[in-house]
Amino acid sequence: MPDNGRSPAGAATVTLTIDDREVTVPKGTSLLEAAALQGTALPHYCYHPGLSAPAQCRICLVEVEGAPKLQPSCVTMAQDGQVVKTDSPEALKMRKGVLEFYLVNHPLDCPICDMSGECKLQDYVFAEGREHGRGREPKRVFGRDDFGGDVLYYGDRCVMCTRCVRFMDEVARDSRLTVVERGSRAVIDTFFDEGLEGASFAGNVVDICPVGALVSKDFLHKARAWDLDSTPSVCPGCSQGCNIELHTRDNLVQRLKPRENAEVNGHWMCDFGRANYEGLNRGGRLEAPAAGRGAKRRPAGWDEALGQLFARLQAAAGADVKIVGSAEWSCEGLAALAAVGAETGEVSARVFRSRCAADEDRLPGFPALARRRDLAPNVDGARTLGFSRVGGEDAAGGLEEVAAHDGVLFVLGDDLADQEAAFGEAASLFVYMGAHGSEAAANADFVLPVTTFAEQEGTFVNVQQRVQRFWPGLRAPGEARPAWLVLGALLAALRGGEAAPASAAAAFSWLAGERAAFAGLSYEGLGAEGAPLAAPAGGNGAA
């Protein structure tokens, strides 16, 4: 499954005992990480694997034999022969004590807090805290502060872990947050009036805030955490392909959250991508296949539509074929489209259009991650599969020859929003597959509803030439089907009855057999983190 490249053979290890069980970890592993490897999750607030460790929340304290006091496990390095107790009476007592301190001034407003249900304060107190508070004193009140951008701060919920400050300092390298005042009057604040406004990675502070102190304005009071379903996916915002989770409720994406991938996005994602989910919820979808041009168009069942289309393709054998694909559709769909075109006749154009930004926007503290210029998730997949980019940076134009083509014309996933109603008028056969209808599809002989990536399984190839899987988080509307399923069936029929792929896994293994770049990859093996494409012959593969 996932590559095990993280602990190279021969690297120094240490063996220690945690809670009476031996564990061997690479040298330089903290006790907190060693305990996690061994299956013991120690509570922590200030520690975050993507940030420095200030050891200030004091909730990960453990007993280390020989040490005079409890040690913060996040900064105490594992040593050979060390004996560590995470659950000794002393350690438990102190953790309980620290948890009690956190609640001294906490407003206990869980019922109206967006973090409720995924809050580390709730979790830890539930697991190890006191049953009843002893506080009799009035609580200190800070209230709420608009930090700018998408971020709201509820000072009373803050556990002062400073993750947010350190993210801006160390990862965004754009110090806009700080702790002001000291003692229990300490509070997080912005330096200047604009706060986080205009910072392009600031949304991550909401993710790493372990409690409900930093919340997203966009998500504010939109859904309860326990009502959300989470689906591993890939951000469609640009060719970086940040690993994300789709959080959905009522068959709508409610928010996107980054999903850790050390090779691609670390723990992070950009604000542009995070805000870019509304398209996935767009209504007005194509729901049923239809056949016939213009006024003659009428609904058709899948069997009927595909039967007719197959007949037309056979009849068109040897024709000049032009294909418009999309960098927002999966590799399997694009590859099947290319193969159907090739089975039909001579392919004279295989193109896609996608938007481009003027600049890259790199995350300085994790430079592998940048919001790339290509604002679509599968630009590199489309290129690898032989599609070339046409049109302008606004994803318009560039289809003059295609529009006037008099042979066979396939369009997949391009809404043709900028095209005239006369598009494809001269085509001998025009097949339009998409999520939404288009005025420029009036001349289509077949209009076939296909699913978006959020409604199906499949893969994208990111800018690092990494193949990454995504999973369906939304139910497809009506009769919409994944493009690979529709085109796979046609291809099998065109090739004389070879078995059509019945699953995304089968579609991918077909792809791996068909295209050298994908050779040697298995769908299972890609796992949740993906794997690099095979190096092109003669070139050196991008890592």
């Binding site: 050891a55 004590g97 301190f101 956190y102 001294v104 009799r136 004193e137 002062m160 000291r182 003692g183």
Partner: protein, 432 residues
């Protein structure tokens, strides 16, 4: 006229010139034997200078009492390229009850300048920062003047006393925060960051100010060094005890007739300090309690003071700590609950707020204590206070947190009845 009060039993090694404006100038200080220590240090060399201070047994006067010569020897022997050494002089003096460093600087600034030069030379530092408490306006002017004189005379700067050794001295005035007196909090503040203590390791000798090998010493510690260099380590040992050699400034405040700074040999009996040197408790009242080492140490009851000797081991044996020898004397009229509450207010105000137990514990404790003081206490409040104190001890980055726990716990243990009386009175009032 004698500097505010003097006493025959004092041994004024460092403080002889207190109250004498003539000693403030370079000339005046030289006339009193000044700058002979640095001359000797340059003559005998670095290692021998460290050895001399080791031999004296001088212990850090900032509170922890760590042997100064040993601390100096933790520094790398040779300076690694690109890794300059720094000496920091801790002049942030803000421990409640402490007012000795200020007097050293006000009256004998050159004593400190010379101590800094010797210390910097001993640890191979070409730069010493003196971090001065922000509220010390007068001391700032005096010390700045002394530094100017020292530079003008070639005592500080690129070529100390013509030896070719470079030692620069920079005066850095803080903004007034107790926590910036904690050594690593001071380093952060000096670097322009929030004054927040750092986790150790790394220790300052490995990575201190600006990430470089650093030694930090208290003003009084450094002020004791010129005499030791001038006269030798053995000379210093003629006073004090085996484990606590030398003399020490005692800052006495509270219910005594003659409060003030007194320089005494370590090991001096506490009751003699109170009754003889300080003229006893005014109005013939009885002694109730003493805080012997600044607000951060356990409170001692009158009984415990009886045979206590004022040296590191002596006060420890009596159940408290010598700390920075700030002796706060309380007579029978003192309200212990109020005193402890005021301390809690102080620590709650001064906590940097990084560590949860300190940030929340100090503030919570101060609020509970205030409630008790106001007669609204509950019987279980004392258990809560003791548990909070326990949870604040040994669980944080620096010991500010422990420093409040110590007075709370000792006060409740030794003066529980006073707390209970307030709580009961409050209950009666509440019931009525």
């Amino acid at each position: 006229m004698a500097y505010p009060y003097r006493h025959d039993r004092e041994v004024r090694v460092m403080s002889e010139a207190f109250g004498d404006p003539a000693a403030r100038t370079l000339e005046g200080w030289k006339a009193r034997g000044g700058y002979q220590g640095i001359a000797r240090a340059l003559e005998i060399g670095r290692a021998a200078t460290v050895d001399e201070v080791k031999a004296s047994g001088l212990r850090g006067r900032g509170g922890a009492g760590f042997p100064t010569g040993v601390k100096w020897s933790f520094m790398p022997r040779e300076q690694n390229p690109g890794r300059p050494h720094y000496l920091l002089c801790n002049a942030d003096e803000s421990e409640p009850g402490t007012f000795k460093d200020r007097e050293i600087i006000r009256w004998t600034p050159h004593q400190l300048v010379e101590g800094c030069l010797i210390g910097a030379y001993a640890i191979g530092a070409a730069h010493c920062y003196i971090y001065l408490r922000g509220e010390f306006f007068e001391a700032t002017g005096v010390l700045a003047q002394a530094l100017e004189e020292a530079y003008a005379a070639g005592l500080a700067g690129p070529d100390v006393l013509g030896s070719g050794v470079q030692i620069d001295l920079t005066l850095h005035v803080g903004a007034g925060a107790y926590i910036c007196g904690e050594e690593t909090g001071l380093m952060n503040s000096l670097e322009g960051r929030r004054g927040e203590p750092r986790i150790k390791p790394p220790f300052p000798a490995a990575a201190g100010a600006f990430g470089m090998p650093t030694t930090i010493n208290n003003v009084e510690t450094l002020a004791a060094v010129p005499g030791i260099l001038r006269h030798g380590g053995e000379w210093y040992r003629q006073w004090g005890t085996e484990k606590s050699p030398g003399t020490k400034l005692f800052c006495v405040s509270g219910h005594v007739s003659r409060p003030g700074n007194y320089e005494l040999p370590l090991g001096f009996p506490m009751m003699d300090l109170i009754e003889d040197v300080c003229g006893g408790i005014p109005g013939g009242k009885a002694l109730k309690a003493v805080i012997p080492g600044g607000s951060s140490v356990p409170i001692m009851s009158a009984d415990e003071c009886e045979s206590c000797e004022l040296c590191y081991e002596g006060v420890a044996a009596a159940g408290s700590m010598l700390g920075c020898a700030s002796v706060i004397v309380m007579d029978e009229t003192a309200d212990i609950v109020k005193q402890v509450r005021r301390m809690a207010d102080f620590y709650a105000h001064e906590s940097c707020g990084q560590c949860t137990p300190c940030r929340e514990g100090t503030a919570w404790a101060s609020r509970i204590l205030r409630r008790i003081e106001e007669g609204r206490g509950k019987p279980d409040d004392l258990d809560t206070l003791l548990q909070i104190s326990d949870q604040m001890t040994g669980t944080t980055i620096c010991v500010l947190s422990d420093s409040l726990a110590a007075p709370i716990v000792s006060a409740i243990e030794k003066f529980r009845d006073e707390f209970l009386a307030l709580i009961r009175r409050g209950e009666r009032v509440g019931a009525a």
